[in-house]
């Protein structure tokens, strides 16, 4: 146990943990949304993210950007960033919709038992990640150095870089926007209605199929954003990147209370911090173990996660 190291690096660890947590949180939204509405774990969501991490690279590739390119000027950076985000969002969104269409809808049509959904989702996940694996020869693919990290704020040994600010702010903004959307807009109300009482929602004229597609789509969009942020932060992606981070995102969703949007944010940030602290205190090899131990402990005391379940179902 390295307490002095943890104390010394506490500031920087917190910042990097928050940035990582923000990505996890955006990713976790997809799990939470689908679970909130369908009560099903969408195992294929990890691949929705994966597709996003490659989509922006491919599009940047069209513009001749690869890991060896020079960093473009500010305008270029913003432009490429926007294009990359767009590409990732579209690709992830389309993947999410496709997963719903292929792996969920046919089963829903037949009123299949929940386990069947879990398994088709696993099948979809396996299929997508393996196809990506074969297409990329299972090699890592480097990310263009779009953002050269610079310290923007510094105090003591704690520095906050431009990228970290971008990630955290973007995650918070998206969360805020999504929260508003779900709670204020008509469609958002439709989503909550289906989550809280699907039959009654149908009686109000809500098209359940469309709401479900919408939920997958939103999850996909958020995963797309997370994917670009992941690329920029980690610096490379690989066919199994989704599976790895997917488990963390799923853990975060459960930690915060699966089905609960704010829970996903809380869970994600907490997980990011926890992993960094644990890595510092115990060694990096324990960072995942630490997050699972924390998960088990938290669930023992709060069996439905920190913030409780569901899109506003809290009291039901």
């Amino acid at each position: 146990m390295n307490f002095s190291g943890l104390i010394q690096d506490f500031g920087p660890l917190t910042i990097t943990g928050l940035a990582q947590g923000a990505i996890i949180a955006l990713f976790a939204l997809g799990y939470t949304l689908v679970y909130g509405v369908l009560r099903l774990i969408n195992f294929a969501h990890s691949e929705v993210f994966l597709v996003g991490t490659f989509a922006c690279l491919i599009v940047w590739g069209f513009f001749g950007l690869d890991q060896n390119s020079a960093t473009p000027g500010l305008l270029g950076v913003l432009g490429y960033l926007a294009i990359g985000l767009l590409a990732a969002i579209v690709a992830s969104g389309v993947t999410a919709l496709a997963v719903e269409l292929v792996a969920y809808r046919p089963l829903r049509r037949r009123n299949a038992p929940p386990l069947a959904f879990l398994i088709t989702a696993i099948g979809a996940s396996l299929f997508i990640s393996e196809v990506v694996g074969v297409l990329t020869d299972r090699n890592q693919r480097g990310v263009p150095p779009l953002i050269v990290q610079k310290d923007v704020v510094s105090f003591g040994n704690t520095h906050i870089t431009n990228l970290q600010i971008l990630i955290i702010v973007l995650a918070l903004v998206m969360m805020f926007a999504l929260d508003r959307f779900i709670n204020r807009s008509r469609l958002g109300r439709g989503i909550r209605a289906v989550a809280q009482n699907p039959d009654a929602a149908a009686l109000m004229g809500v098209n359940k199929s469309r709401v479900i597609s919408l939920v997958f789509l939103i999850g996909g969009l958020m995963a797309g954003i997370a994917a670009v942020m992941y690329d920029l932060k980690i610096g490379a992606t690989k066919f199994d990147a989704g599976f790895l981070l997917g488990i963390e995102a799923f853990t975060a969703a459960v930690l915060g209370g699966i089905g609960n949007l704010r829970g996903a944010l809380l869970g994600g940030l907490l997980l990011g911090l926890l992993q960094n602290y644990a890595a510092s205190l115990l060694g990096s090899e324990w960072l995942h173990a630490a997050s699972f131990v924390a998960l088990v402990l938290i669930l023992l005391f709060r069996p439905t996660g920190l913030l409780g379940e569901s899109l506003g179902r809290a009291r039901a």
Binding site: G5, Q8, D9, P12, L13, T16, G17, A19, Q20, Q67, N68, D137, R138, N139, Q140, R141, G142, P144, P145, V148, Q149, N157, L163, K233, I234, G235, A236, K238, D240, A241, L244, L245, Q275, N276, A279, S280, G283, S284, E285, L287, H288
Partner: protein, 363 residues
């Protein structure tokens, strides 16, 4: 004249197979493919010289996984035409597969499995065409001390048998110069190394030795650079792959040092490099040359009439073969003769390739 080939194949010392055993698919395929292509090139050249398919190439894909290896090894053993095996490339799969080869009595030459303990299992068929991990660790430490002259070194590893072993040796050889150490998870199990990066930065180290493979190392190099750490990353032959620079970008990778118990490809000679490139349309990779040599040793033995696995194995114990990468002569345990061991340091250059830096004196 296709049909004559089968005729001549049954001619003198023909009609046998040499096998490659190792990963051709899966995450670990890069190294396996390097080796298989070097091996296959040698056999092809041999057959061309003979003008027939005298010796067939048999490929067995183990995926580099210990749990898959036994079944594949048994199917290899079932093929009674196989006289010798080039492989397995990794130590884990060797542990699982070599007992089967030993039982079947088929000689193996591994061009890259460097776990020290493999030679002490009493497998009579085991031969290693490179130095084991015991040679590389001290060499890396010597390089850090004598060439880099780094005062503060951070040592990390990925907990693989290979990486951890290497890191432990480096740590013990460097002694007080090691300011801190850490472990990461293995390839594909961790991508965010911010905690490690932070530790490296805080430690004030000017060199980081990472015992592990290029996949993680590429990410670590990139994240270190992004976080503004300007020191040198060093590692063993597991990091000697263009994949490192592909992930980190050439600019970040420049100057990264890897040690390898292998010779610079230039030494393998233009002929080999050209032939390889012509056949496979890529440049020869790490250990392609050693695999080429291993195949040629087998071929020479078969040519000399050693047409049973047993005879071929006996032949190997007498061999003193000068190949393109090295000269080969084995101790009774199957290790390369200590006097023949070479460790080189390579450096990533601006094109993302590794260039020979210097041979490291280990003793």
């Amino acid at each position: 004249n296709k049909d004559t080939s089968s005729d001549t194949a049954s001619g003198s010392n023909c009609g046998y197979k040499l096998a490659f055993f190792g990963a051709l698919t899966g995450s670990a395929a890069n190294l396996g493919v390097n080796i298989e292509q070097g091996f296959e090139l040698a056999v092809n050249q041999f057959n061309e010289k003979k003008g027939s398919t005298c010796i067939e190439v048999a490929k067995f894909d183990s995926q580099g996984a210990a749990e898959v290896a036994p079944g594949v090894a048994r199917s290899l053993v079932a093929d009674k035409k196989v006289l010798g095996i080039v492989g397995p490339p990794f130590s884990g799969e060797s542990e699982a597969a070599d007992p089967i080869f030993a039982e079947a009595g088929i000689p193996t030459i591994t061009p890259s499995a460097t776990r020290t303990s493999l030679a002490s299992k009493g497998w009579k068929v085991f031969h290693r065409a490179v130095a084991n991990d015991d040679a590389q660790g001290p060499a890396a430490a010597a390089y850090i001390k004598d060439v880099l002259k780094a005062q503060k070194v951070f040592v990390a590893d990925d907990q693989s048998a290979y990486g951890a072993g290497l890191a432990d040796v480096v740590k013990s050889k460097l002694g007080a110069a090691v300011v801190n150490s850490d472990k990461t998870e293995g390839d594909g199990k961790q991508t965010d190394f911010s905690a490690l990066v932070q530790k490296v930065k805080s430690s004030g180290a000017t060199a980081l030795f990472y015992g592990g493979y290029y996949t993680n190392a590429g990410l670590i190099r990139k994240q270190l650079t992004a976080a503004g750490w300007k020191g040198t990353l060093l590692g063993g032959d597991g990091m000697k792959d263009q994949g490192l620079a592909k992930a980190s970008g050439n600019a970040a990778a420049v100057g990264t040092v890897v040690t390898c118990p292998c010779s610079p490809p230039e030494q393998a000679g233009q002929d080999f490099n050209n032939a390889y490139k012509a056949k496979w349309n890529v440049a020869a990779g790490t250990y392609s040359d050693v695999a080429y040599d291993a195949a040629n040793i087998f071929l020479q033995g078969i040519e000399a009439g050693n047409t049973t696995p047993e005879k071929l194995n006996n032949y190997l114990s007498t061999v003193n073969y000068k190949g393109i990468a090295n000269t080969y002569k084995w101790t009774p345990e199957g290790e390369l003769d200590p006097t023949l061991i070479k460790v080189w340091a390579f450096k990533f250059d601006a094109s993302g390739d590794t260039k020979a830096d210097q041979e490291i004196k280990t003793s």
